[in-house]
C-alpha cells in the first residue's frame, strides 16, 4: 500500500500547484501545453518519491519542472523561443514562490469558499447539496429535478473545477521580490534525476 505516499503527494506537492503553474507560464511559451507539463512534473515527482522521498519537496518539484523544460527543449519540441533562453533565470523564478504556502484552517476554508463560489450555478448547487448537506447523488437529483446522470456529470465537473481553483488559481502568483535568495536549495535533489 502506498497510501502514505499518496498523502505525502497531496500534502507536500499539490499545495504548490499555483506557484508551479505560474512558474511554467513564465518558462514555457505555449500556454496550451502547461496542463501537460504540470502533469508531467507531477508524474516525475511521484515516481521519484516512490523510490526515495525528497526532503525538500517544494524545491524538488521546481527542480523537476526545470529539468522537464530543459529536456523538452533538447528534444527540440520547441525551437528557440526567447522566454526559455536563460535557464539560469529559472532559478530566480523559484525564489518568487512563497515559502508560506501552508494554509491555516481559516485560509483553507476561505480558499475553498472562494473556489466554490466560482463554480457555475448548477454545478455549485449540486456540490453544495452533495458536499455540504451530504445528500447522496440520488437525492440531489430528486431535489433538483434532474437525472442522476446529470448529477454525476456535475460532480465530475465540480471536482475538476474545484481542484483547479483550489490548488491552482488565485494564489500568490506574483510576489514582486525577485532576487530574494531561496533558502532551501534544490540542487542536491536535482541530481536525482527523476526518470
Amino acid at each position: 500500500m502506498n497510501d502514505s505516499l499518496d498523502d505525502w503527494f497531496a500534502r507536500e506537492i499539490l499545495v504548490h500547484e499555483g506557484a508551479l503553474v505560474s512558474f511554467l507560464h513564465r518558462a514555457w511559451p505555449d500556454r496550451a501545453e502547461i496542463h501537460d507539463l504540470r502533469q508531467e512534473a507531477y508524474v516525475r515527482v511521484y515516481e521519484a518519491a516512490r523510490k526515495c522521498r525528497p526532503t525538500t519537496p517544494r524545491a524538488f518539484l521546481f527542480t523537476t519542472a526545470r529539468h522537464l523544460i530543459t529536456d523538452r527543449l533538447r528534444r527540440g519540441r520547441v525551437v528557440s523561443i526567447e522566454p526559455v533562453g536563460d535557464l539560469d533565470a529559472l532559478n530566480v523564478l523559484i525564489d518568487e514562490v512563497s515559502p508560506e504556502r501552508r494554509l491555516d484552517a481559516h485560509q483553507t476554508l476561505h480558499r475553498l469558499a472562494a473556489a466554490f463560489d466560482r463554480l457555475p450555478p448548477r454545478c455549485r448547487e449540486v456540490m453544495w447539496l452533495r458536499r455540504v448537506e451530504e445528500l447522496p447523488q440520488k437525492e440531489v437529483a430528486a431535489r433538483l429535478g434532474i437525472s442522476e446522470k446529470t448529477v454525476e456529470k456535475q460532480v465530475a465537473k465540480g471536482v475538476r473545477l474545484m481542484a483547479g481553483y483550489f490548488y491552482g488559481n488565485g494564489q500568490v502568483r506574483r510576489a514582486t521580490r525577485p532576487g530574494v535568495p531561496e533558502t532551501e536549495d534544490g540542487t542536491g535533489h536535482g541530481q536525482q534525476h527523476p526518470d
Binding site: 502533469q39 463560489d117 454525476e152 465530475a156
Partner: protein, 378 residues
C-alpha cells in the same frame, strides 16, 4: 474537441468521471478493480486521480460553512466572505470642540474634578477627515465646560428610575430595544441592567458582552459601566465586553470616551477617546488601544452574525471565546496545544466543526464528550 485536447486534460476528465461514478453509489468490487486497473496503467492517471481526490476531500471542509444554515438552501456566492456589512459609518465623528455633557453619578463627579489636561489621552485617529482643534484648546474647553456643569449641576439629583435587566442564556443572542430608542444586542450569557434617567442613560454590564447602537441624545450621555470602567457615548455604535479583570470596548461608529475609576493608589486614570475603528482593553494597569479600520473593528464583533473571528490568537483564548457561547466546553489538556496560534472566522454555534478543522490543520487530537471536547497534543 476530444482529439485537440491535451492528453493530460483527457486524463483529468477521466479521473473526474471515475470519482463521480464512485460517489454515485452502488460501487462494487468490480468497479474498484476496474479503477485500480486504470490507475495502475499509468502514473499520469494516478497523479490526476490523487489530485482530484485530494480536492474532493478538501471540499468536504465546506461543511463548516453550512453549519447553522437552513437545509436545502444554497446560499448566494460571497455570503461568507464578509460576515458583517450592514453598518455604514455615515455619521461624522463627534468633534472635540463640542465637549461632552456631564453625567450625574457621584463617582463620575469626583473623577471629573480631578481631570487635568495632561491626563487626556487621544487614541490615534486613522480616519479623521476634519481638522482638529489644537489639542490644548480642546482640552481647555473640556475642562471649562466641566467646571460650569459641576457648578450648575452639583446638587441636582437625577430622579430615581426603575432599572430594567436584560439577559441571555448560553448560546443565544438577543437584541433589546431600549426606551430611549437605542438598541442593545446581547451576546451569549450576558446581562445588562439599564437605568434611563433624565440626565443619563446608564447601563451596567454585569456579564458578557453587548453591542450598543445608542440613539443620539446629547443631553443624556449613554454610559456603559463594567468593573470600574465606563464607556461613554452620545450617539454611536460600539460594543462593550466584560472580562475577568477589565473591559473591552470596540467602536464601529462615532466616538466613545473611556474612563476608569481611580487606580489602587487613588490616582485618577487618564481619559481615553476612542474613534471608530478602535479596540480598547481597559485593565487594572491602564488602557491599551488598537487603532485600525472600522472593518477591522467589526471583525471583533462578528459574533453578532454568528461568527468568531481570530487573528493570530492563541488557541487557549479562542477556546475561551467559544466557551462563552457553548455549554459543551472546549478543554485544553496540554499547554502546548493552548499555545498554538490560529486565525480565521468560525461559527460559534459549531465548536465541533472548529475542532475538526483544528484536527486537520494542527497537531491536535480531540476527544469528543457530551459535556466537553478535550484537546490533546498529538
Amino acid at each position: 474537441m476530444e482529439q485537440d485536447m491535451a492528453s493530460s486534460i483527457r486524463i483529468e476528465r477521466a479521473a473526474a468521471a471515475w470519482l463521480a461514478r464512485r460517489d454515485a453509489g452502488g460501487w462494487a468490487t468490480r468497479d474498484q478493480a476496474e479503477l485500480d486497473q486504470w490507475l495502475d496503467a499509468s502514473t499520469a492517471h494516478r497523479v490526476a486521480w490523487l489530485r482530484l481526490q485530494a480536492a474532493w476531500h478538501e471540499s468536504g471542509r465546506l461543511k463548516a460553512l453550512g453549519a447553522g444554515l437552513p437545509a436545502g438552501q444554497v446560499p448566494a456566492p460571497g455570503r461568507w466572505a464578509t460576515p458583517s456589512q450592514q453598518e455604514h459609518s455615515a455619521d461624522p465623528p463627534v468633534r472635540m470642540a463640542k465637549p461632552w455633557p456631564i453625567h450625574g453619578t457621584s463617582s463620575g463627579a469626583v473623577r471629573r474634578s480631578a481631570l487635568d489636561p495632561a491626563a487626556l489621552v487621544f487614541a490615534p485617529r486613522k480616519r479623521e477627515p476634519e481638522p482638529r482643534l489644537p489639542r490644548r484648546l480642546a482640552a481647555v474647553a473640556t475642562v471649562a465646560v466641566v467646571g460650569i456643569s459641576l457648578a450648575v449641576g452639583w446638587r441636582v439629583h437625577s430622579p430615581t428610575v426603575q432599572p430594567v435587566a436584560y439577559g441571555t442564556a448560553v448560546g443565544t443572542l438577543e437584541t433589546a430595544a431600549l426606551a430611549d430608542g437605542s438598541e442593545a444586542t446581547l451576546s451569549s450569557d450576558s446581562r445588562i441592567v439599564v437605568a434611563l434617567s433624565r440626565r443619563e442613560r446608564h447601563i451596567d454590564l454585569e456579564r458578557g458582552e453587548a453591542f450598543f447602537h445608542a440613539a443620539k441624545d446629547p443631553k443624556r450621555p449613554f454610559v456603559v459601566a463594567a468593573g470600574g470602567h465606563q464607556a461613554i457615548a452620545v450617539g454611536t455604535r460600539f460594543a462593550v465586553r466584560r472580562d475577568a479583570d477589565g473591559m473591552r470596548v470596540v467602536v464601529t461608529e462615532g466616538l466613545v470616551r473611556l474612563e476608569s475609576d481611580p487606580g489602587v493608589d487613588g490616582r485618577p486614570q487618564p481619559t481615553t477617546l476612542l474613534p471608530a475603528g478602535s479596540v480598547a482593553l481597559a485593565g487594572p494597569h491602564g488602557v491599551v488601544v488598537q487603532s485600525g479600520t472600522v472593518d477591522e473593528a467589526r471583525q471583533a464583533l462578528s459574533w453578532r452574525d454568528g461568527f468568531l473571528a481570530f487573528r493570530d490568537t492563541s488557541l487557549a483564548a479562542a477556546a475561551a471565546e467559544f466557551n462563552r457561547y457553548n455549554a459543551r466546553k472546549i478543554v485544553i489538556a496540554d499547554p502546548s496545544v493552548g499555545a498554538l496560534r490560529i486565525g480565521g472566522s468560525f461559527r460559534w454555534s459549531n465548536a465541533e466543526a472548529f475542532v475538526r478543522l483544528l484536527e486537520q490543520g494542527f497537531p491536535v487530537r480531540a476527544e469528543y464528550g457530551d459535556r466537553a471536547i478535550v484537546l490533546h497534543d498529538r
